[in-house]
Every structure is written in structure tokens, then in C-alpha cells.
Symmetry: none
DNA sequence: GATGAATGAGGCTTCATTCAT
DNA sequence: GATGAATGAAGCCTCATTCAT
């Protein structure tokens, strides 16, 4: 799904912005990627609002005006970044959900591991998604919100499945999903890449807690 | 603790800014409270950056210039709000930790319940604290960060205590604290006041999950 | 009638832009008048597009940003100017039409004289109205267009009246109105204030031509 | 007459711009014509300033950069259009003036008919000439202005001739010319192609008015 | 002839803050 | 205490034009 299907008249950023006669192959030019990366870096470091278009231009070694060959607007840039990030989360989780012969428990473990792995290996992007998407205008924000809601739904499905199969003993699957997802999403707030903790380790600890709780037996 | 003890030369906002003859009694005038409330409301609704000083002035029925009789700067206003919010969390949790004759398990339950109660009954303020504090300049942000770090420490203490007493079976008390606190902090992202779920209910579900996990036995 | 009644959310420029709690007395502050005059002068000399907000600010000795205490936007400034201009034309012509005991012939003569007098004594404003209004955005332009259409209607009424009374021998009152009004509107294109020709003289010549034609008898 | 005879060093647009080996035969390539047509259409619809070079490129299916193989500058394009338009008016009127054995009255009738016919059948071009030429820079504008002045002279000659021959009873031939030409030039402001009124009809009505006036006898 | 990347100047507007009244 | 005029810096974006490929 392309971002602009949700938007009125926004450029896609996936096709050449000038002429727009080329077929959309979701080809993102190198320069576009470079710009997106620069933006991610800066948005993560300084925040969306504190990052000026000039900053981004400087980072990629272009004139401010030249940036606009590749982006539609600063806001659109943020949208692209957030969209790609949440999409990756969604796609991966869908893949896990689609697997047959997997217990709900196992799905949950994998969901946690997957989320943390993706989250931590793309920490900057995840940070931008979770911290800056709110800076989007209403319409653009809605796009991300919907995808984010869907992500929650997928988690909820796992918990409902576990409940239905008798694997999980929970009253509110959705609330449980919110607890787990909340804990996972919070990671961008404290995880430092430099740290000694790997995503795998965090995932193991989180899984243990969410599956069996903290209580000694 | 006063905010400005962490800052170099910032006005406090707690003492009369003009004349400075009054003793600092942390007296906040009605107007100041009114302004802070307006700011909380607007910061929560539109975000800190999207809220102009004019917006705040309009909300309290003052002219932009008149606001500056009561606040030092827009940023300071945000700092006050965030500071007060995190301080409340800290104070309450300290009170819980200080209670004698309470099992770690019970302390954890209370900590969760307390956090969710405060969080949900001051949803706007909590949102501003958790979502907008990042917009503070470096120095001001550090103030909040330190208090926030301290809050995490308090949670960690509970978990360490539980581990030491053999109540909790955990390898990484801090990581456990981060999981639990993350889940709790995430609440501002999805909780709707209008909803049918009370803070108590959420607290119960969360406690169950964190204490005993999701697995059926 | 106030301009903004036709517009969605445009500031009026007639009331204080800040606070907007004052009653609208169509009070235009001196500064606002000064700015409007400067804009008229510059728009007439260089054209709307070639005039920058900076130019206007320079002309009134204000900083660019300070202008925005008095105007809503550059376009709004143009709208105000054009609106006031066409309104004056309309009001005067309505007054002429309303007079009893006046032959159509006499009304036409007065309409011509009035138009030329107003036009020539406010040559800059008239020029802006007739030459630059097209630079307005669609919505704003429509406002002016409607008033302009109304002005044509008033002229047409005179000619229809003359026809009905047997004073005028014309098949297409509206076409006649367009001819006469066109000739009168064209004046801003060639009239030079410095010239020796007074508005009265031009009016006399025009009246003669339109009433009796050019043919010798 | 070539446009650039009036300009210092401007490219003509009539000769091949690259290589300049070709003789100037006022050869306008198909592409150039296509571009000019696109420009006329857009300038008429949106105005010169609101039309970007990109718009024109889009209209002809070229890249922005490629346009510059055919035009010297956006402004030059406008100049060409306006120049061609006013030249046509001039040439036709000169032809009428040159006819022997024609009364002044008949010349005037033909001048009016000719102007309206040309004007209405090239309504877009005429609109651009009369509405947008002012957007030209000083030097370029002067070129058009001179041709325009000349056009007025031609009209004036008709009226002077009529006066000299006793056909017309007018004091100010030039003023009369301005009245008549003004009315005729105004046509682009109200004429709608879709309308039921043909140029011939308008011409008849206008001629009647200017020759015999509006008064019933 | 065509492309499209790149330029760089300039445009309009917003806004937190100050200060004289 | 209150006002509102003024500031000035900064921000995002547009666009005509050039030029290497």
C-alpha cells in the first residue's frame, strides 16, 4: 500500500517528482534514501520541530531548495519515514500470525522478539515513528494512526487466540496486548545501542515476564 | 525541590518575577495556575510546538504581552508542568516504598495502581510530561530526565527488594522495571477518559499480568 | 457590508486583529490606513506580484513581521483595497440611480461624470482595482467580481430605464452599458494626473460621444 | 519588425537559438508554436505570475529544462505573445487606413469590426496582451507600449480624418479614440466564447453607439 | 534534442519576547 | 497589572534558470 493512497494530492516520494510520467516501481533513488536517512538521524537527535529543512540539506550536502526535488515537504518526509517503519512492524507480525502449527504462546514469544529486534536494530527510525508522528498534521497523522491501530489488532489477535485455545488465562486480550505492546514500545526511550544488552536478551526477559509473571513459585 | 535549582539563572516562576522582593513560598497565584491549566490543555491537544503563546493567552483571556507577568517563557511553562507531574509520581512512589510491613508484591501492586490512578486522573498533564518534555532545551530537559530516572530507580528498588526476599524470580530487576513502567507509561497513548475502563480495572489487569503472566496453569 | 462576510475566516482588517474582542466599528487605525496607502502606491507602481511585503514594510518604516499586526496577509491587503474601491463606485452610482425626477439621460451623464471623477481622483486605487484584482485567489476574487458585476447591473439599469422611457434607442442595454463602462474603465490606462485634462472635461467629451455619437449632423 | 530590435541583446526566439547559423527567417518551429500556444492558454487561465515554467512544460509534455531549447526565458515568451498580438492589430488597422475611397465613417466601422473580430477570435491571446503585458520588465514592456501607442495613433488618425472631412463632429479626436478603443479593449473582460453573441453583432451595436449615440431622435 | 539534478535568491508568514505607556 | 505595538530571527517553500550527461 502506498502512502499517498491515504492522502489528498501528496506526492508519493516513490516516483520521480518531476514529470511523473514514469511508472511507479516504488523505486526510491539513492538520493531519496540518503535524504530519508539524514532526516531520520536528525529527527531522532533533535526532534522533528527542532530540525530545519536547512539542517537536512546540510546533512546531505545539498541546497535547501534542491531538497525539494526529492521530497514534497518536510512533513511528507516525516510521513514517509513513519509509514515505512510502522509498515515493517505490521508486515513482520502478519507473517508470524500467518504461521500454522504455532501455539499462541510461541507466537507471542516471536512477536515480542520480532518487535524488539526490529525496534532495536532500527532504533532511530522507531524513535521517530513513536515520538514524532504526533507532529504530523491531522490527515497525515491519521494514516499512521490507522496502521498503528492495526498493529495493535494483530497483537490482540494473538492473545485472543491464546485465550480461545486455553493457553492464556486473561480476561481482556486487548488490555493485555496494550500492556505488552506498551512495554515493547517503551524500549526506544531507554535502550542505548552502545549498551551491553542485545535485543535477544531483552526479548527473553520480556517474554518471561509476560508469560509467567514476576512472581517466584 | 525547586526547578530552578537545576538551572543556571532561569527564573523560577514560583516567586514574583517583578521586584523579586517577595520570599519564595512556592506561592502560585491563581492566574498562574489558570495559565498552567490552559497550557496543559493546549499542549495536550495540539502539542507544545503547535501551541502558540497567543493560543494560551486567548485561552485565559489575556493579551500575549500580559502573560509574561506570570510566566518566564513558554519553555519554562512546559518545564513547570512537566516538573510538577513527575514530582507527583515520585512523591507518591516514595511514600509507597517507605511503608513498612509491605511485601514487595504488595508494593508492586500499589505502585502500579498508584501510577495508573495518577496517570489517568491527570491524563492531560501526564501526556504533556511523557510526550512533550522532549521539546525542552537541553538543560531543562535534563531536569526532567533526572527526576524520571529517579522514578525508574524507585520502581527498580521494588523489584530488587522482591528478588532479594525471594518473592520475585527475576534476573534483571531494572529490565523488569522498564517493562512494567513502560506498559504503565504507555497508557496515555490509548486511554480515553470517556472509556468504560476505570484506572482500578486497568491496574488489576496489569498487576495480574506482571505478577503471574499470561499463561494458563 | 464587510469583506469578510464573503470569506471564510479572513481577518477583517477593520477590527483590532489581536484579541478581537473589541466591537467592530469599522475603525481603521492610522497605521492600517498608512499601510493600505503604501500598498496602493506600490501595487500601482510595480504591480501586486512585483511588490514584496518587504517593500511595503520599508515604505511605512516597519519591520516585515510588524506588518502582520495590521494585515492578515498580502493578499488580504489587496482585497481590502479593491473592495473599498469598488464599493465606492457602487455606492455613488446607487445614489445617482435613487434620485427621483432625473431623466435617464441625466442619470447617464452623471454616472459618467461620477465614474470619471472618482476614477481620476483615486487613480492609483482604481488602477489597483482594475488591474490587480485578478491576482487574488479564487475565493477572494469572486468577492470583487460580484461587486463588479453589480456595478455593471447598475449601469445597465440606467440604460434599460432610458430605453423603456423612449429616451434611448438601443437594442442591447447591457451591451451598451459594457461599451460605456469599458470606455470609462479604460481611463486608468492612459490618464496621467499631470495631464492638462480634468475629469470634468473627459466626462463631457465621453458623454457627448455616448449620447449623440461622433457623427456630424 | 523583429521584437529584439527594441531590446538590447535579447534573444529573438525567431531564429535558432543554438548555433545561430541559420538565417533569421522568422521561422518558428512547430514546437515553438506549441509552446507559445500552451503559454497563451495558461497565461490566460491563471495569469502570467501564477503560471510556472513547469506548468508550461507539463502542458507540452516536455521537461522544464527542455523548454529552454525553444524559449529564451519565461518573460520572453510573454513578450513574443504580446508582440504578435499587438502586431496583428496594428497591421490590420494599417490596411484599413490605407484603403482609398473609404469615408472616415466607413473606416471607423471597419476598425471596430476588425478589432472585435480579431479580439474575439483570439480571445486568449488578446487577454494576455491586455492583461499581462504589464508584467513585463521595463524594457520589454516598453516594446509593447510603443506598439500599443501606435495602435492608438492609427485610431486617432481615423477620427482626425473624419473631423477634417466634416464627417465627425468632435473636439478631441484622441479622446474620442480613447473612448472607442477603451470600449473595444474592454471586451476581453466580459466576452464569453460560449455566449450567443457573435463578434459581428457586438461590432454592429458598438458602431451604432459610437456613430450615433444612444439618444433616441 | 532531451533530461533532471542542482542552484540560490527571494517570497510570505509565524512567533516568542520586549517594552513604553 | 495590562496592553499592544514592535521586533528580528527563523522557517518552509517556490521557481526561473543552468548545465553536465
Amino acid at each position: 500500500m502506498r502512502v499517498d493512497q491515504h492522502l489528498q494530492g501528496a506526492y508519493t516520494g516513490h516516483e520521480s517528482m518531476h514529470g511523473a510520467r514514469k511508472v511507479d516501481l516504488s523505486v526510491t533513488s539513492n538520493k531519496q534514501k540518503e535524504i530519508a536517512l539524514a532526516a531520520v538521524k536528525l529527527f531522532e537527535q533533535k526532534g522533528y520541530h527542532a530540525t530545519s529543512v536547512q539542517d537536512i540539506a546540510d546533512e546531505v550536502g545539498l541546497q535547501k531548495g534542491s531538497l525539494y526535488h526529492y521530497i514534497h515537504s518536510k512533513e511528507d518526509l516525516l510521513l514517509q519515514i513513519a509509514h515505512e517503519a510502522i509498515t515493517q512492524f505490521n508486515e513482520q507480525l502478519e507473517r508470524i500470525l500467518a504461521e500454522k502449527d504455532l501455539s499462541a504462546r510461541e507466537k507471542l514469544v516471536r512477536a515480542i522478539r520480532n518487535h524488539l529486534t526490529v525496534s532495536i536494530s532500527n532504533l532511530q527510525t522507531t524513535t521517530v515513528l513513536l515520538r514524532e508522528a504526533f507532529s504530523l498534521g491531522e490527515n497525515q497523522h491519521r494514516v499512521i494512526q490507522e496502521l498503528t491501530d492495526k498493529y495493535l489488532d494483530l497483537w490482540t489477535q494473538i492473545l485472543e487466540e491464546g485465550k480461545a485455545r486455553g493457553e492464556f488465562r486473561i480476561d481482556h486480550p486487548k488490555l493485555a496486548a496494550l500492556a505488552i505492546l506498551g512495554a515493547c514500545n517503551w524500549v526506544y526511550r531507554w535502550y542505548k545501542t552502545s549498551g551491553e544488552l542485545g535485543a535477544e536478551e531483552v526479548a527473553r526477559v520480556f517474554s518471561d515476564i509476560f508469560l509467567d509473571g514476576v512472581t517466584a513459585r
